[in-house]
Amino acid sequence: MCAFRSPITHMCRCRERRHPEGETRMILTAALHVFSYAAFAVFVIAVAVRYHRIQSMPLHLRWDLYPVAHEGKRAHYGGSYFEELDWWTKPREFSLVGELKGMLPEMLFMKALWEHNRPLWFRSFPFHFGLYLLIGWAGLLLIGAIAEVAGVAVSSEGGVGALIHYLTILAGAFGFILSIIGAVALLHRRLTDEEVDGYTSPAHIFNLSLFILALAVGFLTYILADQTFSLARGYIRSLITFNLTTPIGSGAVAAEFLLFSILVAYVPLTHMSHFFTKYFFYHKIRWDDEPNFKGSRIEKEITQALGYRVSWSAPHLKADGKKNWADICTEEVDKEVREEAKKK
């Protein structure tokens, strides 16, 4: 049987086996697979490195900003446990439901933007929600690919396979449409709105253009070459089964995955990594209201930090790299001046 035969359509995609064009295509197909693996690896490493870098920074001073979502019954007006008399003697309320209620509308529907910048929300929400749908689409492609490997046909004909089939089409189609509308609208704002004029860098234009290009290619591929996303699923299947030379079946699908791979590798290297660093902004800064009690973990970390040696050189600190935080914070100001005066 021809190695280029599609396992789905059972049609042979090479006109003549082992002709030079076929070999080139095979090499290119394998290269695209390798590129996709590499992009995924870059994504994972970049996220892990950034996460680790932030996570391993020392404890910081408190910088709460209210409302704090886990404050339970006080959260809706922005209250805190400091409203309690002798607050340190009372059990601290920590509402996980409250956190979810604070976080989910923000993550899914961009609540802050809705409240504070409605015109931008109408551009940014479709873009982001479209991307969420496309992430769902990619997840469904993966599930479909696994199902196929397990022998479950993913098609319009009944059962779980049909569910995956239709959900994939829905998520993909709406995902592409929404995110393209959003990305174009965002680019339009970048280029025309006086408010952001002067704050738009070449990288902004490039980033949005890259998104528009990738999404447009993805959408056109869907419309013109892969209306059920079976070719896209086939590519994911060849990725997960490490069949690097399995033909992709369409140049458009190959281009689509090339661009998606570039995006996957690129996004976590930029400020767009806020898709996960937002966690720190909320949980580790705004909502970090954990008090320091004697003998606590926080106290240990503070003690350690107070031991760091300091090199700030302003005259009132004169930190030469030998004194540590505790030394400077407990020394008398103008000690030398006073000693000098005493001698006189």
Binding site: H116, A305, W325, D334
Partner: protein, 535 residues
Amino acid sequence: MKKTKKIKVEDIGKANGKLTHTDPKDFMPLPPPYDNPENLPPWDPLKNSDSVEASLDDTIAVAIPKPKSKQEEEELVKKFLSGLEKLFTKENNWPFLQLLTLTMEHCAKCQTCSDACHIFEASGRNEVYRPSYRSEVLRRIYNKYLKPGGKFFGRWKHGPIDLNWTTVSRLAELSYRCNICRRCAQTCPIGVDNALITHELRKLFSQELGIAARELHEKGSMLQLRVGSSTGMNPLVVKDNMEFIDEDMTEKTGMKIETPWDKVGADVLLIHNAGEIMAWPENPGAFAVILEAAGVSWTLSSDIPAYDGINYGLWYDDFQLARVAIKHAQAAKKLGVKKIVVGECGHSTKSLMVIADRVLTGDLNIPRESAMTFLEDIVFSGKLKLDPSRNDFPVTLHDPCNMVRLMGIVQPQRRILKYICPKFREMTPCGVNNYCCGGGSGFAIMSGYNFQTWRNHISGRRKLQQVLNAFSDDLSPETHKYLCAPCSNCKGQLRDLLFAYDAWEKCGILYGGLVELIVNAMSDVNPGFIEWEWH
């Protein structure tokens, strides 16, 4: 709206006159009676600024001396860069490293934060006062000069910038055009905090270059650490002044008042902002009346600087903050009190309760409480006899940013006011969404050159509008109205603001603290504690 060419971020480094001008014609309009230009205070122009840096706008807060040589210029830039580098090391900046790194790396430059800023809005959307303007300058400098490949990637990712004496000196001034109220941070869809950048910039200047607003450093935290108080009062003077206040209170209320000093084993160490003792003696006096009437075991400390709760380091220098906070805690430890209660001062409360919470360890970690919760307990305990009809005049409440948006102490003061003031009404917006009084981050005590004009016209404008709107049902001067500001710093700003606009004469608006209203409602003290006189 500005009709002139829009100022760009990179313009900060171009030395061609002033970067921007502040023209009263551009400022946000105010409601009656200040819709009539004749009722507005004049804009005092900037004078005598030849020897100091004054090229940012039409005022001066820091006053950096102009360089005498090229070498001096280069020295400043070099030191700035070395300070910037230190901001990103854990040894030198563990208290804010994580926060700063995140904020530097994730701004989407969407400008959602702009509309939240009262300074930007009141100035007529002056580009230089945009919350993200100064952050963007710093971001570009950091990316260009300190990141590998910054010459190319910095420009690609963020845009052009040039670092020179003009940039650095303007940036120093610009770090004192923000109240650090963090209202902008509340609206950022990502969580980026432009106020933090202001804070870190001020720190860099103070901790590395020894540059800070005089009122905050030399006449502020340094004076406090040397003498005991930024007011200049030493322990003897402060005791003397309090004695005078006790006598005055005894006469005024008919209750015998004697402030206890250095009482070992008292339950509560009360720490006032010492500015109250000097400028608003009725506030510490009213505290004494309430605590005596409620039978609280309390004391003041005469240790340097424990009779002055201010901690200006909060706004410009981590070390100065820690030095003062540690001394406050040491005084409490020496007296063996059960808790420290911080008087009506937002920044003192936040410094000692929140920021110093990760500075004080072991025996110095003594419980600390806000006066709002403490007073709420007393008011509703039944220990005071209260007659709300004595407060039968319109009252509104200003929410001090430090205590409310940044600590979540929202309701106790409201519950008190709703109980004792029948004509209480809220401002809009209020609570954690309030606007800063315009005196935040030290501005209230900064008046050099024409800076007071700047705060009266620009940073305080939004608050004035809010106050006028809250009392819009009757703005006649005959109806006495009370603007309650339970924060010494805010009161300083409101005093200057209302005075500049002649709001007592024109609209009958007086300002004051919360305890004065409580004592005014106490039926077993002589009536008329609030005297309805401008001071």
